[in-house]
């Protein structure tokens, strides 16, 4: 039975394009929150790869990985945004160019 007609390569290519957009965002943007959202997008691109491999191979391990990646992303969101809040209290800014307290 032919369940669908999109080959695996197209899912992988789409995921690669999304990952690259996220990478370019992390490299070019200066707002810490937007950098953070771009990282979420990169995680999602990898999730798409895992789900498509899982579906095409008929193996559930990929979808388990997606489940755990989402749990880690939720933890990362909570801690990351708390760091941004704490940083804003000290430096009054979220622009990463102006945050140079680790530089000597």
């Amino acid at each position: 039975m032919n369940l669908q007609s999109i080959p695996l390569e197209y899912y992988l290519s789409l995921s690669a394009i999304m990952f690259t957009i996220g990478t370019v965002g992390v490299l070019t943007r200066r707002n810490a929150i937007i950098i953070f959202m771009c990282i979420e997008m990169m995680l999602n691109a990898v999730n798409l790869t895992l789900v498509s491999f899982s579906a095409f191979m008929g193996d559930s391990a990929g979808q388990m990985f997606v489940f755990f990646v989402m749990a880690v992303a939720a933890a990362e969101a909570a801690v990351g945004l708390a760091i941004v809040l704490a940083l804003f209290r000290v430096k009054q800014t979220v622009y990463v160019d102006e945050i140079n307290i680790m530089k000597w």
């Binding site: 007609s5 992988l12 989402m70 809040l85």
Partner: protein, 171 residues
Amino acid sequence: MSTTVILFTILSIGAIASGISLVTRRNPVSAAMSLIVHFFMLAGLYLTLQAQFVAIIQILVYAGAIMVLVIFVIMLLNLGKEENLTEKFSMRTTLALALGGLFVVQFLTAFLGKKTGMNALPEKSMSIGTTEGIGNVLFTQYLFPFEAISLLLLAAIVGSILLAKRKHEAS
């Protein structure tokens, strides 16, 4: 053209467009809205792969919980638009775009150059993406990672409360 092809085309174009919108928006709130659209597009793509459980979790956890948290922080910080300093084509933007272009070309030649021959989902994929299929595996084979992740989430809760707490109240 079958329905799947049309769906995949619409969803992938939507996902890429909202991703580009996320990277280019100056206003953090509109960037967050683009990201929500992106998450919905991805949930649709998961549905075309017969992964219903992951699609629903995507909407609940990402578009629901994580984005509410992000928008909350954006409003709490009361940020304006990012200054237009980066509007001019700086060295960093040029380098990042060049690197991104290189990435895409490399990935696409690797993926599209050689056919994997996987053009249709196997029969088995119908059952693994359902809540029943996921639950069967999650609570037997992956029970230990499942418990470990709860510990990680607890640590994250404690850590984020500690980080976001005002310091002068503690001392």
